[in-house]
Subunit: 358 residues, 2 copies
């Protein structure tokens, strides 16, 4: 089977497989990539029974020994305690050092699974099998994992590159509407990170996207993954001044909103708002025409999004972003991104006011 993309790294390059009905080949691909005999499959209540059944069956058909571990869904599961509970369950079951862990689910399962795999007996083989739009187009690639701490989001974690990523677009067919929008929120950063015409594509195909049309979702995923795999290949551990960090456009405001909502507003939704607010700051600086921001706002309205910002005041966002020092990745005309740390409280207020008028 030919991978759609390859992440090229100094030590551990790996392929990203993307297609309809690929889950059936999970066992076959694990054999091909010499995954150890003992495979732990981690899923949450959100991964879907059909996906879990399909994954386990595919692995068993190829002769793997499997252990299925489940956890509740939701961002609150991204905690050191949850990782500790998984370690305990794996030790009780006698999972050996030569084993693999497959994260079957969305971003939360990928984060918790990646961190669990990277710290169990000094590291298991890791495979990403994303089942949501957001994880298929973005979070399953790049090896970042992390759990939250009362003092910060994703501050406990590591890099663990997967052996391979398997994205079965067919799994998106049963995705709840809210999850499609969450994925779209994250996707909407890519027009500003190297693929401006992706915005045209999304506007033109919004109906098909919301209908979970397989071929539309696949083409959209391909365009995102093309950028993501390139950026990760160039800057595995986010150490360059203009590398992976460019993917954080919209994330400074986004993270603040997500955290202040106590994760009531999901990551992709918060990033959607973040890109619009940060885009508006760029407009005010004269770095970008207002057209793309209005187009984002129009998509927001066409989707009838009404993210509930109750209780999240401008003052609390200002405080959380501690403006004047926090880094922002601001979009610009022609896909030119700027990394700045001099956004003023007034500019931020203007960006948030624009959100308020959506």
């Amino acid at each position: 089977m030919k991978p759609a993309f390859e992440v090229r790294l100094k030590a551990n390059s790996y392929p990203v497989y993307l297609g309809n009905g690929l889950l059936r080949s999970l066992g076959h691909l694990c054999r091909h990539h010499e995954v150890p005999e003992y495979v732990v499959v981690l899923s949450d209540t959100f991964s879907g029974r059909a996906a879990l059944k399909g994954a386990l069956a595919a692995l068993r058909r190829s002769g793997f020994r499997t252990l299925s571990l489940g956890m509740p869904a939701g961002e609150r599961q991204k905690s050191p305690e949850r990782v500790g509970q998984l370690h305990t369950a794996m030790l009780r079951a006698g999972v050996p050092r030569q084993a693999a862990l497959i994260a079957l689910g969305g971003g939360v399962v990928g984060d918790v699974g990646g961190f669990t795999a990277s710290t169990y007996r000094r590291g298991l083989t890791f495979v990403q099998c994303p089942t949501t739009l957001l994880s298929q187009v973005d979070s399953s690639v790049g090896g970042k994992n992390g759990v939250n701490h009362p003092l910060g989001k994703n501050v406990i974690g590591s890099y663990l590159q997967p052996k391979f990523v398997l994205s079965d677009v067919a799994l998106l067919q049963t995705l709840p509407r809210r999850e499609v929008i969450t994925g779209l929120g994250e996707i909407l950063k890519y027009p500003f990170v190297g693929d401006p015409s992706l915005l045209d594509f999304i506007e033109k195909n919004l109906g098909q996207i919301m209908k979970r049309d397989q071929s539309t979702l696949r083409r959209m995923a391909e365009r995102c993954l093309c950028i993501k795999t390139q950026l990760v290949s160039r800057d595995e551990k986010e150490q360059r001044a203009r590398g992976r960090n460019l993917l954080n456009v919209g994330h400074t405001v986004g993270h603040a909103i997500e955290t202040l909502s106590h994760y009531r507003i999901h990551h992709g939704e918060a990033v959607f708002l973040g890109i619009i607010a940060e885009g508006w700051i760029s407009v005010r600086r004269g770095w970008m025409t207002d057209e793309p921001v209005h187009r984002l706002a129009s998509i927001y309205r066409r989707l009838r999004c009404r993210f509930n910002l109750d209780g999240i005041s401008t003052a609390s966002i200002l405080k959380s972003v501690s403006s004047g020092r926090q880094k922002f990745i601001l979009p610009g005309d022609g896909g030119r991104l700027s990394v700045v740390n001099d956004v003023t409280p007034d500019e931020l207020r203007e960006g948030l006011r624009f959100l308020g008028g959506l």
Copy 2:
């Protein structure tokens, strides 16, 4: 400054500096190796005030911003809870992602520090500054870290190779007698892993070693590190059939004794006993003459060791090792090591009986 050894790895090769009074150069070496500006120094109550003062002063002289974090001493500190407390302290202090952590202490500080560094904001730059004989000759090199779980020793951990290792032999001058013996216990595996004449050296210089004679300790450390750095360079993550795992000679019985004593018997002491017991199994198999084992026993007696095995029955060791399945690295004549998993309960009983007669 020229390093004594170099660990050569695919992605991150690094030097090991070894010498008298090197601690003074810590800041200089951190500059040379482009360590980030913000440096967390982790030590325990056992690291020694002089060492901590010296390290902090050297770093500040070179202009680094330092944060000193302490923890109690002892194997019980190797816990996920301790790592969590250090994460919290670092988040409270605002330690950024671009920072370094220096483990200043023995094996416990190295393990806890390495794991903390590898999981804080997806990985800090890590420096090993070992202050005990055991950590200088062995555990500071190789990148292994780990904390304990009620269900197993070192089962939660990762690989994080340091940027460099700085071993100041002068720090050993104030080392308690018990710590010298603990170090020797671990060192006594090296005659069986490629350096048979090291046993002659130790026998001849035992008095000087116990007097913490600088040049003797240094020559001994050099011989151990020569083997360790080679094995790590060939097999970074212990994946070869005959690689790093060969360094685990004596460790199957050793780990069992250490754990069953609830860490009352220290790691190196337990390994000392483990090498003797496992050596005796080799003798009974006809794989080795009994001479080296009797020489080890004689060193044990010359040191007037009387490790207290009260409450650690042969039956409990047998159960812990679950013989017949657990891997043993058995020594042989001419430094030939065998990796086996067929040690019978009777053989193990014989080995333990030999210990009883020491």
